[in-house]
């Protein structure tokens, strides 16, 4: 057994299920290609406006950068037990910001042109966004969650994972779209007040609208998809389809030409935020139920020591116990032990390419790491 440093983030660097490294999976290259193509479409589409309105573009980027950092930090931590691995989080984020956003630009333009030609420009002006955006954008964003699951099968094992990575893909899309809206606002205001337009756009779309925007809709769709990816049954397929339709319906509700005006933003947004919160609570409850049940079973089995399940359940306690262990090898071993135990618990959730033998391998790992840990010169109390 190797004694390399392992922490919560280390799962990202481990080969995905079946021992296939991330870069050997076709889904990884599909992800890379879609992000490149989408990014290229977005950059070529926005390049001229960025060059023409540099002050507004820089102000918009400067305002959105901290929003991006705070949003990613918060969405990664929206998990009751562990922070989502940065690698997988960035994969989802990049899909949303580059792949989904870039491909949505021509897809939305084509859809709205079709609506305009078939139902008339008046209808398109009123309802075009409410019809085209939910279909194109929710599909494109959710495909990012599917792609992540295909390239790293352990990343999505249930609704909570689907919720989290869906939210991150949606948030990436949201940030890119907010930047586009900064440029659009500059044009709509006749390029007469670039900075003012950037601040106005930020105020309306981030301060006033970020709470119930793309992240929330894709989180809902992602949670449903997570159910299906965790365990493929007829029920979970219905759940996934229902969640996807709900995400599209909420998106359509947001874009619909009803309850217009700044004062109505909250009235339109609250149902979306509420649906995202309820979905999160349900996914969290399901996860914690499984967590507690598995921790108990493994304790009875003798794999975990009594009380270990409680330590595992809280980031703060895991961090605290790590500081109580001498730095160096013991601390690294303890981190590895906890990561393996968490992996063992989450393995039972299912997911793509689920191998029933993995649990026994992980149990063996836990026993071996624990043996190394307690055979050291100063065995930590916690193990």
């Amino acid at each position: 057994m190797t004694h390399e440093a392992v922490d919560d983030e280390a799962l990202t660097r481990r080969p995905a299920r079946g021992g296939v490294p991330l870069t050997r999976r076709p889904a990884f290259w599909l992800w890379a290609a879609v992000c490149l193509i989408g990014g290229w479409i977005a950059v070529t589409g926005l390049d001229a406006a960025v060059r023409a309105f540099p002050a507004g573009a820089v102000a918009g980027a400067a305002l959105l950068a901290p929003t991006l950092v705070i949003g990613v930090w918060a969405l990664r931590r929206l998990h009751p037990v562990r922070t989502r691995p940065i690698g997988y989080s960035l994969v989802a984020l990049a899909w949303g910001a580059f792949g989904a956003f870039g491909l949505a630009l021509p897809a939305n333009a084509a859809f709205q042109a079709v609506l305009s030609k078939t139902a008339g420009p008046g209808f398109n002006a009123e309802w075009g966004a409410a019809i085209a955006a939910p279909v194109n954008e929710e599909t494109l964003k959710l495909l990012g969650v599917v792609t992540l699951a295909l390239m790293a099968p352990t990343s999505i094992r249930g609704p909570l994972d689907g919720w989290g990575y869906g939210a991150l893909a949606g948030f990436g899309f949201q940030i890119a779209e907010n930047f586009l809206y900064v440029l659009n606002t500059i044009v709509l205001t006749g390029a007469t007040q670039d900075l003012h337009a950037a601040f106005f756009s930020f105020g309306g779309r981030v301060i006033g609208g970020a709470w119930w925007s793309h992240w929330a809709m894709t989180a809902i769709g992602g949670a449903g998809l997570g159910c299906l990816l965790g365990r493929a049954t007829r029920t979970t397929a219905v759940l996934a389809a229902g969640a996807f339709l709900l995400a599209m319906a909420l998106h359509a509700w947001w874009d619909a030409p009803i309850l217009m005006g700044l004062g109505m933003l909250v009235l339109k947004g609250v149902p979306i935020l509420f649906a995202a919160i309820v979905t999160y609570r349900l996914a969290r409850r399901r996860y914690l139920t499984h967590f507690r049940r598995t921790a108990y079973t493994e304790t009875v089995r003798g794999v975990f020591v009594p009380g270990e399940g409680h330590v595992l359940a809280h980031r703060k306690w895991r961090r605290k116990e790590r500081w109580e262990v001498p730095a160096g090898e013991p601390r690294r071993l303890l981190a590895r032990l906890r990561a393996t135990e968490l992996e063992l618990i989450e393995d039972g959730l299912g997911g793509l390419e689920h191998d029933p033998r993995t649990a026994d391998l992980l149990r063996g790992d836990v026993r071996r790491i624990r043996h190394h840990l307690i055979s050291g010169p100063s065995p930590p109390r916690v193990a």
């Binding site: 889904a27 599909l30 879609v34 001229a48 406006a49 060059r51 023409a52 309105f53 491909l103 021509p106 897809a107 084509a110 859809f111 709205q112 042109a113 079709v114 305009s116 030609k117 078939t118 008339g120 420009p121 008046g122 398109n124 002006a125 009123e126 075009g128 194109n136 599909t139 494109l140 495909l143 599917v146 792609t147 295909l150 044009v187 709509l188 205001t189 006749g190 390029a191 007469t192 007040q193 003012h196 337009a197 106005f200």
Partner: protein, 177 residues
Amino acid sequence: MVALALLVLCSVLPLLNRALGSGGRRLAPGTIVSIGTEQNGVRPVTVTVLRAGWVLSEADTSLTSNAKLLSDDIVFNLSVVVPLSSLDAQKLWGGLGRIVAAGGRARLATAPAPVVTAHGMTGLTGRIIGRDRVGVAAVFATDTLGATVTAAGPPRAFGAAAAEIEAMARTVTVMAP
């Protein structure tokens, strides 16, 4: 499966759009094209079509913000401007110059001259020049709303229609909320 879904989404809609053709709607002389956010069933910025032959490009028109009219190779764009603070024509002309230049194919050529619409509204007008296109631009501003017009085409075609296009630009109305 993901690749197939992407392919369907990103190819079916553009193909359908192409299959539907240019999607132009012929406009009869006297037709009033209105743009801007609808309030009480009325869009605040209008332009009147003066002769037959103009087509509303449905694919490139979003009535909440702009209308694109085509006549052979000539493109007539009417856009609404929603200022965040007080607006005047001079400021709007400067902004339009930057927007036209951002397109990369043309720029506003000269200092603008005053223009008065058929309804008595004063604005500014000037020439657009590009490598293979010439045209005319105009801006009209009220305190709370503005409109910009850009019309351009190949030099010969535009030269023949210039007087009519300038007259059309003078039919613009801006109804401030």
